[in-house]
């Protein structure tokens, strides 16, 4: 690899352009290191978002050479073999400035999918026993590690084509709650995700699971929601 990386960064809001920078190559350098170098040494007006730097907080996702990725856990050597990097904000979201995407609609859709735990008991009740190998617990486990980075949302074709679609992360969250035996909000949740823009809008392209940095499979969660909502509809438990 060359001693200098040729880095193209998106500058501006929705209207803007890619601006080129030369960044020295370092050992074990991550894409976030590159962006930070530009901000600290070349142009302090560059805006971007990060917090933990270790793949726990979900705030540093950007589009790196055309793919949505966590920049903190993406080594430059893995994605820029020819010494070139193009880094932009996440797709499918409005741009605030430079590399910072506006995540509001992403989190509003999380609420729209009723991704909030609805307790069925009070603190006076005994703690519910949940067997680790029970089917609902295993189903919830498969999706529960999501950290809301927005990578799946940025990768999703259906989000791109259908602005009201709730998206893979919100629906994956809904699926974990549908499988939470302590939760009391399923009728409301299943009703919300059965409406237009809910789980049935998914085309199962599987870009979400292809791009998820945690190797989760939101498509499988959404398939589970499609089955569960169809059953609830046929039983008359929900009305679209």
């Amino acid at each position: 690899m060359a001693a200098t990386l040729q880095v193209s960064l998106w500058r501006g809001g929705t209207e803007g352009r890619y601006v080129d920078y030369d960044v020295p190559v370092r050992q074990s350098q991550t894409v976030l290191d590159v962006v930070t170098f530009v901000q600290r040494h070349l142009d302090s007006t560059l805006s971007y978002r990060f917090a933990c730097r270790v793949g726990m907080c979900g705030s540093c996702a950007m589009t790196v050479n055309g793919r949505p990725r966590w920049t903190c856990r993406t080594h430059v050597s893995k994605v820029a073999a020819d010494g070139r990097l193009q880094i932009g904000p996440l797709e499918n979201l409005p741009v605030i400035k430079d590399l910072a995407a506006d995540m509001r609609q992403f989190f509003e859709k999380w609420q729209g999918a009723k991704g909030r735990f609805a307790p069925s008991k009070t603190r006076s009740d005994p703690i519910e026993r949940i067997l680790p190998d029970s089917a609902p617990r295993l189903a919830a486990n498969a999706g529960i590690e999501c950290i809301n980075c927005g990578v799946c949302y940025a990768a999703c074709d259906t989000v791109r084509w259908n602005p009201e679609y709730l998206g893979p992360a919100a629906l994956n969250r809904a699926w974990t709650l549908v499988n939470d035996v302590r939760d009391a909000g399923n009728i409301e949740r299943l009703t919300a995700i059965s409406a237009s823009g809910g789980c049935h809008a998914c085309h199962s392209h599987q870009s979400c699971q292809e791009h998820c940095p945690l190797a989760l499979n939101p498509t499988a969660s959404i398939a589970g929601l499609k089955r569960r909502t169809a059953q609830a509809y046929l039983r008359g438990e929900i009305k679209p």
């Binding site: 059965s194 809910g198 049935h200 809008a201 169809a230 046929l234």
Partner: protein, 109 residues
């Protein structure tokens, strides 16, 4: 698409699968046996079974395809949202007119 449209589309898909296979077998059989139009009409005219079979086939296709076209129109065309449902319904009605016209032509005695 909401759950109602989803259930209709999946249910008609399940119905269409065996009907479509039988339809293909009929085409295969008719062409392999070298049946003429007159031979085919002799079998289908006045037949309640063929009328039912292709009647259900056409009805299922109209429902299934118009729901699919509705999604295509909503996601891939600049058609305003309020025009999507009428356009999809119109497409389904056109399919029904063409389909049932063909069924009537081959089964009416």
């Amino acid at each position: 698409m909401n759950v109602r449209l989803y259930v209709w589309q999946r249910a008609t898909a399940v119905l269409l699968l065996p009907l479509l296979l039988l339809h293909l077998l009929v085409i295969f059989y008719a062409s392999r046996k070298g049946l003429s139009a007159a031979d085919i009409l002799a079998r289908t005219r006045g037949s309640v079974a063929w009328a039912l079979y292709y009647g259900v086939f056409v009805a299922a296709i109209c429902v299934h395809a118009s729901i699919g076209v509705r999604t295509v129109l909503a996601e891939w065309t600049p058609l305003p949202a309020r025009a999507v449902n009428p356009a999809a319904i119109l497409f389904g009605v056109l399919l029904a007119m063409l389909g049932f016209r063909a069924v009537i032509a081959v089964v009416l005695p």
